[in-house]
């Protein structure tokens, strides 16, 4: 009896949902027309490609399309795991990301803290305007600058040679230099811009906290440790989670611009391999499989980071 009741109730509800929708569409037709292009955009350019991931389980033949190509199961994944470059790609992806995170992440925070301590507000403004600037130089031009400075006639190559007492060489031509160049230029281009968000967080801290601290006789160092850092901690954590979510993508556009076969040993990462295998060698299925592997790990990392952060201090993305 009760089951029946529930079922009817359910049906009633369902019908009313459909009805309200139709009524709603009739009442606001323009709203639904406006939503249509946005909806189509996401379906076509985001969900179709997700559906297209099935070609990593097929031997994709362009002429036959997504529906006609023969299934091959996990062949391309096992091919990748057995690939002679598999471990090199994993190692490079994680090493470059890790170095970029360890050295690149704290710099904007420290910079924002130091900037905040400047006493002259005019000097502060000038420093900000100048240090934000490299963010606006296009990646292609930044890489052009890197080539110019690190080739054998460039100033950086000259300094390095005189410091280490070695011959002057084209630094980017050697695999042992790639990581340093990649990470340090990322910092050069991004630290100013990256500090904006922390600076915003700093200005959001209640000034009465500092006043109270001064009355209590706390020195500036103490104020930073007990007021400033806790004040911007949520921002730091959120950005850290977001950053962890990008670990597998490691600015591969920059890598593609900077690397060369001579530096593949340290520079080639999973996403640059996807680009080379998939689009340059037209091995669509293999490239997609490698890309999917990359996305899955990436997604797992975000979930992990988010869970850990929620457990540890109640800050999370969702």
């Amino acid at each position: 009896m009760s089951t029946q009741l529930v079922t009817t109730k359910h049906l009633l509800k369902k019908e009313s949902v459909g009805k309200t929708l139709i009524k709603n569409i009739k009442k606001h037709p323009v709203l639904y027309i406006m939503a249509l292009p946005v909806f189509l955009y996401f379906v076509i350019f985001h969900f179709f490609p997700m559906y297209g991931l099935i070609i990593s389980f097929q031997r994709y033949i362009p002429a036959k399309g997504l529906f006609g190509s023969p299934w091959v199961g996990l062949k391309y994944f096992t091919d990748f795991f057995k690939d002679m470059f598999f471990w090199r790609l994993i190692r490079n992806t994680f090493t470059l990301s890790f170095l970029d995170l360890v050295f690149g992440f704290p710099v904007p925070i420290i910079f924002a803290l130091l900037l905040n301590e400047l006493t002259s507000s005019k000097f502060k403004k000038i420093t900000q305007t100048i240090t934000y600037m490299p963010h606006f130089i296009s990646l292609v031009v930044v890489c052009g600058l890197i080539f110019t400075f690190t080739r054998s006639t460039g100033p950086i190559a000259q300094i390095v040679a005189s410091w280490t007492g070695t011959d002057i060489t084209n630094l980017l031509g050697q695999s042992q230099n790639f990581r340093t160049i990649f990470v340090s230029t990322n910092i050069w281009q991004g630290f100013g811009w990256g500090s904006i968000i922390y600076f915003a967080a700093l200005s959001g801290i209640d000034p009465s906290l500092y006043e109270a601290a001064v009355i209590d006789g706390a020195k500036r160092m103490k104020q930073v440790i007990y007021i400033t850092l806790p004040g911007i901690a949520p921002t730091i954590i959120i950005l850290l989670i977001l950053r962890l979510g990008q670990i597998m993508s490691v600015g591969f556009e920059k890598i593609i611009l900077l690397y060369s076969p001579a530096t593949y040993e340290t520079a080639d990462v999973i996403s640059s391999y996807v680009y080379r295998k998939g689009l340059l060698e037209l091995n669509f299925s293999f490239g997609t499989a490698v890309g999917l592997f990359n996305s899955v790990i990436n997604f797992a990392l975000i979930l992990m980071a988010n869970t850990v952060s929620r457990r540890v201090n109640q800050t999370s993305l969702w």
Partner: protein, 296 residues
């Protein structure tokens, strides 16, 4: 409030200021170097090694003359202008109607659309499936392949959505009572009230299009459609990485007397426009990051 500074604090202040000056120098020097090199004597430039502080030899604008007459640079500038203009318009339209519909309480698929968008922030099909979609739509090697795949940035949409949510409901209610439909509310009420966030969007998307090179590289074959960045890549990057060895670099020097000079002039020609407008627009960018930060 009077703040008494201890000696150690004063010392810190001095070092901090010096440190900042150091950072400013590190940030600016590469550009300064390029500017000085770009007006140097081409012959001396070829021989020069290491730092440059003043133009080498007799200062000359010869390189700029050659650069600005380079048909590729001109074509690239024209194409980039098109991509920035049309691309940003498409972005603005799509992002604002997207933000509009997801902030309407009476929109039935509000939650669904938001969930769809959130999914795309964390998971995507990746490069090759997108490439196949572009091929399937028959827009490969057309300007649409550059303009459409990035039509909406979810991050930007969320910034705009946050702004729309802050517009008092009373503004639109009175219009609705007067019989305004969704389009009029969007076009005549929401958009005019959203100028600050629109400015931020124009800048974010505009700079994005200006800098774009990867998607144009994989989706365009026809050089006539290349944006500036792809021509820059040919001049600044490919030249160099293809001749990574010292021997070829030297051959290159013999090949062309002006090549080095043009390289530097090209960097300036491609960077100056954006660096000139940026200080005036800085506050909007900062505003945008901050709205995003509050959201985050």
């Amino acid at each position: 409030m009077v703040i008494h500074k201890s000696t150690s604090e004063k010392v810190f202040d001095v070092f901090n200021a010096l440190f900042m000056i150091g950072l400013i120098i590190i940030t600016i020097y590469p550009l300064y170097y390029v500017i000085m090199a770009s007006i140097s004597d081409p012959k001396q430039l070829l021989r020069h090694e290491g730092f440059i502080f003043l133009p080498l030899g007799q200062a000359t604008l010869k390189g700029y003359k050659l650069t600005l007459n380079n048909p590729n640079i001109l074509l690239g500038y024209r194409n980039t202008a098109f991509y920035v203009l049309v691309g940003t318009l498409i972005n603005l339209f799509m992002t604002s109607i997207g933000s509009y519909v997801v902030t309407r309480k009476h929109f039935h698929f509000r939650k669904l659309l938001l969930i769809m968008m959130t999914i795309t922030m964390f998971f995507n099909g990746g490069l090759i499936p997108l490439f196949i979609v572009v091929q399937t739509l028959k827009i490969y090697n057309t300007v649409w392949a550059v303009l459409l795949p990035g039509a909406v940035s979810v991050w930007n949409l969320l910034i705009m959505k946050t702004f729309f949510e802050g517009i008092p409901a009373s503004m639109e209610e009175s219009a609705i009572i007067d019989g305004a439909g969704d389009w009029s509310v969007y076009w005549k009420i929401i958009l005019p009230l959203s100028k600050p966030v629109i400015a931020v969007m124009v800048l974010f998307y505009g700079v994005g299009h200006w800098n774009e090179w990867f998607y144009p590289m994989i989706f365009l074959r026809d050089r006539g459609k290349f944006p500036l960045q792809l021509f820059l890549r040919e001049i600044l990057v490919l030249n160099q990485s293809s001749g990574a060895t010292k021997a070829t670099a030297e051959n290159m020097m013999e090949e062309s007397y002006f090549k080095e000079l043009i390289r530097y002039c090209t960097i300036i020609a491609a960077t100056v426009p954006i660096l000139c407008v940026y200080p005036f627009l800085q506050k909007y960018f900062v505003q945008g990051v901050m709205i995003g930060a509050i959201k985050g």
